[in-house]
Subunit: 505 residues, 2 copies
């Protein structure tokens, strides 16, 4: 073994150990959401803090810096897309981000995050922004410090935070994609609002017994390719997917017996994330080549299975008979067309996580706009509620009656997750662009769905995206897979293709 | 703060960190038994190995040795039973045991344990001891190495292993207590066998729906004092209790719809362990003063609630009406007396974990006898099946038809747990001796049970045992609490008191 190989293997051992310890934290986090008795919250907080601290110690081990310097000075790591090159490149990226963060700032962010989260929960309950305002101010100051510590080249501080979720993306690029998308979305929303065709959405609030919902959700998640031999579906207040590592990926959902779409499309969404996790190269676990590209690419997988597949008519041509058998009292008398219309109901609403496919992206753009202004200092914490409401009214034509339905609805800012929101809308755009390409490559995805065949799409995603790990950054991956840079057009084509006929636009 | 205080606090920080990391391992272990999808086994093994290794590193940190030497050289730690003295004493005990174990041996034991466990599972399925024999030999060699590394003073190698579970106990002392107990137990078993009064145990194999069993088990566990705000009850193939730390204790059980006692008494048993865990001083978490004394004392708590309380007539005078309401089809026509007889059915059987209160201890003595002989070299692995069967026949009057019902039934030896078994029988003796004292102190426990009052006994146990942490070793604790050294007589009094009238002996 050459010296370079030895150094490379030593570095990989160190990064794998980090990933393994991080995955232990994931188990603790999952259990916290799914199983934790009320009395155990404090102790769980201490366990999580210990694992975070130990992970940070591993991540900033000076030996990693030494090995990186050695490896970067040689030229036999292969070409730019070789696993070795990619793994070293990403190890450098993480080491630099971690090493640039003063430990004091890391601890202060963690402590403030915990307290701000509590304050946010209460403020939201009380519908009283003023309780949260000082915490938002404090968090903004810390995030500005973080951005300064990490650095942002010629860009803006926001870029430094964004880069943590969507490596390589910049606010300016995202803005350029969002702008034309927003203009068109606002038009679609207005056209739908004027359409005389309204779905009967009460179909979906009839009685759907929990046990039957669970059975049907699992059946659909398994059919699209989530493997339950290597995963589970449990209940949590805030649905999520957590991939612990090879062979173990956990999905969660929540059941409302009088709201069918929540658990069902929620499960398809999380299963989409899970199929990505299960599709990663298990041999490469813990290295960049065995990890997902970015939050945006992750979201593209969940949104694709939830929306482009799960809300399509062909999907229900296959599944609707089974749905009627599972929920005979609620769906027995409902024609397939009515059901498809109901699960594709589009209308402005206040809560992002309950939004339809068209308005969802507007919710994201609003947040993107506000958090950029907050970071730059153009918008103070105190002015957030009024600016939120003005912007919301401009985008949606309705005004939130209180801050719980407005700027207090999301957990993200309390946890310091600035720069995270845009990845949701990026995910929708990536999803549409990937889907168009898959349809072209595989020929007639809709016909396949109608026959209950989801394997071809899943295998295509496995090969083109999941097994590539972090070989390419998101923007480059889109180009590699689709031959074109990211564009908002595939998403608009998808939305027009779906909603123009449904609403006779 | 004096220098001694500073050193003491530094030491406590180090031992608490160990305990916190160990508790992370407990979460992983619990989840492995309760939730793990089949595909996740390998990754979970790696997570557990990482946490074990990191815990071992913390436990053998030379700084602990330095602090201990400093603290032991001063005299202001207070008297022998002060928290400071006790915490330092036990930190020394652990540090010495851990430091004496060569890392290579620790790793070899871990690796062999995993492989031996797999071999044991298969050998037991195949009822073929020869598949397990080489692993038993290998494990015995490693355990002899371990005993030699730890040392055993004037005693025998077995003592070094026993000390890991029951600090301070020796094989000779246990032998001296077991001997007279065994003689009398054999007589009781024989007398019961000759009694014409036989319970109708078919009562307990009627249909007991799982959901109703769960509800009833939780009701009883809560009634005796297990707090579900700080704990849970889940399903696992092998029932256990795991205390993660303050406010979070997990019980598991398994349901057989045609066997009432399994889940019900199993839950009471685990709840007994859980009440101990929940009764520990939470401020002292991670230090000896916040930990349980020994496996034997732990088992005394579970066996007390399971047997001395849960199988008593007064317990059922309180609960039987509720049982009949919960299981009307199976118990509606069964008089209380018949039910009490059935749950106290005594008869020789092959499987330890299903044994009744009288024969159970004989199962333990058999294992104690054999594993001492194995450790000393008097019994080779190859001869274990024949010696097991001979001894079993001598104790029980029946001969196991195969090794799955004989020497392959327990997981312990495959996992290297030599010296563990006696703690089960010690637990039964401790339980009876504590119970006699509690009855004397509190006056008429049975009358209290009949009224559904379990709080006085629980509070007594909290004060006398749980909140004492490791202030006293087990033998000393028994003397402190009951005024007398451990004796087999309270257990015999309990067994005669219960079974003489039931079987009209």
């Amino acid at each position: 073994m050459s010296k370079t190989q030895e150094q490379y293997f030593e570095l990989m051992e160190l990064v794998r150990k980090q990933a393994l310890l991080t995955s232990v934290g994931s188990v603790l986090g999952w259990d916290e959401q799914v199983n934790l008795p009320a009395g155990g919250a404090e102790h769980r907080g201490e366990q999580l803090a210990l694992i975070s601290g130990m992970t940070h110690d591993l991540a900033t081990d000076p030996r990693i810096g030494e090995l990186l310097s050695e490896l970067e000075s040689v030229s036999d790591l292969g070409e730019e897309t070789s696993p070795e090159f990619v793994n070293v490149r990403e190890a450098r990226r993480h080491f630099d981000r971690d090493a640039k963060m003063p430990k004091k700032l890391v601890e202060e962010l963690s402590r403030t995050g915990t307290l701000a989260l509590h304050a946010w929960v209460k403020a939201r309950q009380d519908k009283d922004f003023s309780e949260f305002q000082p915490w938002l101010e404090k968090m903004l100051n810390l995030k500005r410090e973080e951005a300064a510590a990490i650095g942002f080249g010629d860009g803006v501080p926001y870029d430094a935070l964004l880069d943590g979720y969507e490596p390589g993306a910049t606010a300016a690029e995202i803005q350029a994609t969002f702008e034309p998308l927003r203009e068109e979305l606002v038009k679609i929303v207005a056209a739908i609002a004027e359409s005389p065709r309204k779905p009967d959405e009460t179909i979906l609030t009839r009685l759907y017994p929990e046990a039957a919902q669970k059975e049907f959700s699992i059946k659909a998640a398994a059919a699209i390719g989530f493997c339950f031999e290597s995963g589970r579906l449990d209940i949590a207040a805030h649905p999520f997917c957590s991939g612990f590592g090879p062979g173990d990926c956990r999905l969660t959902t929540r059941y409302d017996e009088h709201h069918f779409p929540g658990a069902f499309f929620g499960t398809l969404h999380e299963a989409g994330h899970g199929i990505y996790e299960q599709g990663l190269n298990r041999e490469a676990f813990g290295t960049a080549m065995g990890e997902s590209v970015s939050l945006g690419i992750h979201e593209s997988q969940s949104r694709m299975w939830e929306n482009l597949v799960g809300r399509s008519r062909p999907f229900w041509e296959h599944f609707y008979e089974s749905a009627q058998t599972t929920f005979p009292q609620s769906l027995g008398d409902v024609p397939l067309d009515d059901f498809c219309r109901a699960v594709n109901d589009v209308r402005p609403s206040f809560i992002r996580v309950e939004a339809d496919e068209v308005t969802y992206n507007l919710h994201i753009m609003l947040r993107f706009e506000l958090e950029q202004a907050m970071l730059s200092g153009d918008l103070t914490a105190a002015d957030v509620p009024s600016v939120w409401n003005e912007t919301f009214t401009r985008y949606f034509g309705i005004t939130p009656p209180d801050d719980a339905l407005g700027c207090l609805q999301d957990v993200h800012w309390s946890a310091g997750l600035f720069g995270y929101f845009p990845t949701y809308a990026l995910g929708n755009m990536y999803a549409a662009q990937f889907f168009e390409q898959a349809d072209a490559d595989l020929g007639g995805l809709h016909e396949q769905f109608a026959r209950g065949e989801f394997g071809p799409l899943k295998t295509w995603l496995n090969e083109k995206i999941h097994l590539q790990g972090q070989r390419f950054r998101a923007q480059r991956l889109v180009e590699e897979v689709t031959g074109k840079p990211l564009s908002h057009e595939p998403l608009l084509r998808h939305l027009h293709g779906r909603f123009d006929p449904l609403y006779e636009l």
